[in-house]
């Protein structure tokens, strides 16, 4: 019952949208695909759905090639980031549409559609057309339509990205519950938001520049990112990655004072490396430390992301809670050396800090 992507490669205008992507997607599991815009996430979904061709590679369902199977015979449901519904049909008719196409008897289709609308909390609006619904409600209809089909493959392409912050938070919660009832469906969910990928995924697939950068459980991906690229996408804000050197008892990082070499960095030869400084390992204050200038402040949910300029090095600090700090303020920076990541110069993970018992 699994879906296998076999070295999918797709070039468009001399640019690799997918570059040798090989994956095994298991039924009943939620696969979240995490990556920046342009990392190949949408391309992957479109190939799985049969909406785009590949230059080479194949998609197998139960070992059978889907290459010659057109989209309308693939039993694939999709939720787009734009809220796509049929404008001329009511919410209920929208959800029934694919069921009727699949020759489900009318009564049965209606029952299942009503059930799906109830799951997404839209029973009271099932007679409305999409134009009379809010963005969040429209996306709920789209999700209900995809769920009601019980398709073999369920693809969701950044379904929450166009919603407001609070609505996103709420729907993300609900999706966890909705996904728990998908049974034997293969679910693939793309996102640019690390928290979303980690929270929803049984397995996280990190994509970077058209390639699969790492596949693993949320804990593995977060705690031991295979490359600097993974380390950056899986952290919000992205991990600071700065050239540095191991020198005897110390770690030297441009802009910062010499840091003591923590125990997890023992056993590595002295020399140049890339040092990963997670944004939460940095703290700013008024005490002693290296002085930095605040260049930009973002508030995300309940965290403050403070971007600073440290003698020419751009760093981002993540502070818990919401703090009133202003652009242009001078603050002192300190780093927790026990939380540093070490990457070789080509960006491969060398050492990760020991994490909590997870």
């Amino acid at each position: 019952m699994s879906v296998v992507a076999q070295s999918l490669t797709s070039w468009v205008d001399g640019e690799a949208h997918l570059d040798d992507v090989t994956l095994t997607l298991e039924p009943g599991r939620i696969h979240t695909v995490l990556g920046r815009t342009g990392a190949g996430k949408t391309s992957l979904l479109r190939v799985l759905a049969g909406l785009s061709d590949v230059d080479s590679g194949d998609v197998l369902l139960d070992g059978r090639s889907l290459r010659e199977v057109p989209p309308w015979r693939r039993e694939t449901a999709m939720v787009y980031q734009q809220f796509i519904n049929y404008p001329h049909l009511t919410a209920l008719e929208n959800v029934m549409f694919p069921l009727r196409r699949a020759k489900v008897p009318a009564a049965e289709a209606q029952r299942r559609a009503k059930e799906a609308l109830e799951q997404v909390g839209l029973t009271h609006l099932s007679d409305r057309r999409p134009g009379a619904l809010s963005g969040g409600q429209q996306q709920r209809v789209a999700i209900a339509r995809a769920l009601a089909r019980r398709a073999r493959i369920l693809l969701l392409d950044e379904p929450l990205v166009n919603l407001d912050f609070k609505l996103r938070e709420q729907l993300r919660e609900e999706l966890r519950g909705l996904f728990s009832g998908v049974g034997e469906t293969v679910v693939v969910y793309t996102t640019t938001e690390p928290a979303e990928a980690l929270m929803l995924g049984d397995e996280v697939i990190v994509m970077h520049e058209g390639r699969v950068a790492q596949v693993g459980s949320p804990a593995v991906i977060f705690e031991t990112p295979a490359t600097t690229a993974v380390a950056r996408v899986v952290n919000d804000p992205p991990m600071n990655v700065i050239p540095g050197t191991l020198q005897g008892e110390h770690v030297a990082v441009r802009g910062l004072d010499l840091l003591p070499r923590a125990s997890h960095l023992a056993g590595f030869a002295d020399g140049p490396y890339l040092v990963g400084i997670p944004a939460p390992s940095l703290t700013f204050g008024t005490g002693p430390g290296v002085l930095a200038t605040i260049t930009f402040v973002e508030i995300s949910g309940s965290e403050t992301f403070v971007h600073v300029d440290l003698q020419g090095t751009e760093l981002v600090v993540r502070a818990e809670g919401i703090h009133d700090v202003s652009t242009g303020d001078r603050v002192s920076m300190t780093v927790d050396p026990s939380r540093l990541f070490l990457f070789t110069e080509d960006g491969t993970l060398a050492a990760a800090p020991p994490h909590g018992r997870s």
Binding site: L198, M199, F222, D236, I299, S302, E320, G321, I322, G356
Partner: protein, 368 residues
């Protein structure tokens, strides 16, 4: 730049309507020169009405609007000297970037050399100095929106810049950079800015001060930190922060809140009689999971017992959902913190100073 004041301003579209149903309930407001404000709230909360009153599109049915002390209550929009950025970029597609930026100055009869100088300065700040002769129709949506803003900024005498959900039509992927750019521009040019949005992320990142509105009322005004630390209502507690503030319903007993078998100490005792309903508001960040055997809570903390029903991995932190009697409490802990198995019973430590009392949805005043 000007200081904007609203004196007892209210708006109803049907004279004689019940004041409780007015689109905007009576409001006193001073917006100081050179500061950035965000008007936030769900749709229909009155923020657009308020914006229209400031811009002059709507003459308020009650009260007075002044700009730097001058009464402008019934002054039409074009005489108020304000700049507006709408949801959809408003630019002259047939003109070049330069002509678009120069247009407001030409209309005011500025000398050519001064226009050129000013346009160049603004274009540089917008990051469009290299493309001054590009026709505006060739720009991307976010660049067009920057030009809309730039047209407001070129006028150095502009009283205020009003922005109405300026990021609505921008691709989510470009929103971050545009938001950052707009923030930097307003830092650099320091106009009085009123920014309307229903997205708290946008509002908090953009504005020095937030005005939270709901049902035609200004519910709370303050810096992001103030809204986070002491939300004036349960709505603000929900709206600001992620996950939202926890609210535990209970009754007042000896100055504390009785929730089932727990008596939760409050930051202060609300001035309501014994036995009244009181809701404890506490942020998920401030709740501690008391690890079996490690330091139990001291007097500054109330211990609450519950069952762990779910754990969400957010990467840097985890959010634990704990069932306390029939109520849910979210607790946010850092990744390093040990989290027991789902289904097990845990003790929570609720610091007294962070347990805020809410009565009828409003933060209670200090009773002492």
């Amino acid at each position: 730049m000007a200081t904007l004041t609203l004196e007892n301003v209210a708006q109803t579209y049907n004279p004689g309507e019940d004041p409780d149903r007015w689109a905007l309930k009576p409001l006193e407001l001073t917006l100081e020169s050179g500061r950035t404000y965000a008007l936030v709230g769900p749709s229909g909360c009155g923020k657009t009405t308020l914006l229209n009153i400031l811009s002059g599109l709507v003459t308020p049915s009650h009260g007075r609007v002044t700009f730097d002390g001058v009464d402008v209550t019934s002054t039409p929009t074009r005489l108020r000297n304000i700049a507006q950025v709408f949801q959809f970029p408003v630019i002259y597609r047939s003109m070049t970037v330069r002509d678009n930026l120069a247009f407001p100055l030409e209309c005011r009869g500025w000398p050519r050399s001064r226009i050129e100088e000013r346009v160049r300065a603004v274009a540089e700040a917008l990051g469009l100095a290299d493309g001054l002769d590009v026709p505006a129709s060739r720009l991307s949506a976010d660049e067009k929106q920057l030009i809309s803003l730039g047209r407001g900024l070129v006028r150095d005498d502009v009283a205020a810049v009003l922005m109405d959900e300026p990021l609505t039509v921008i691709d989510p992927q470009l929103k971050l950079s545009l938001r950052r750019k707009i923030r930097q521009l307003s830092d650099e040019f320091a106009p009085t800015v009123i920014y309307v949005t229903h997205d708290q992320y946008e509002a908090m990142t953009f504005a020095q001060e937030l005005l939270v509105m709901s049902e035609g009322r200004l519910i709370q005004r303050g810096t992001p930190e103030q809204l986070f630390e002491s939300p004036s209502s349960t709505f603000v507690g929900w709206f600001v922060g992620s996950p939202s503030m926890n609210f535990l319903r209970g009754t007042l007993e000896r100055g504390a809140a009785r929730v089932g078998e727990h008596l939760i100490d409050l930051a202060w005792s609300p001035p309501v009689p014994h036995g009244s309903e009181v809701t404890v508001g506490i942020r998920p960040e401030y709740i501690r999971i008391v690890d079996g055997g490690s330091h139990p809570g001291d007097a500054s903390e109330t211990s609450v017992h519950g069952r762990l029903v779910a754990v969400q991995d957010h990467g840097e932190s985890r959010v634990c959902e704990i069932q306390v009697r029939e109520q849910q409490v979210a607790v946010k802990v850092r990744r390093e913190v040990h989290v027991p198995k789902v289904g097990s019973f845990v003790d929570l430590g609720l610091p007294r100073s962070k347990c805020l009392p809410y009565v009828e949805g409003r933060l209670a005043t200090c009773g002492d």
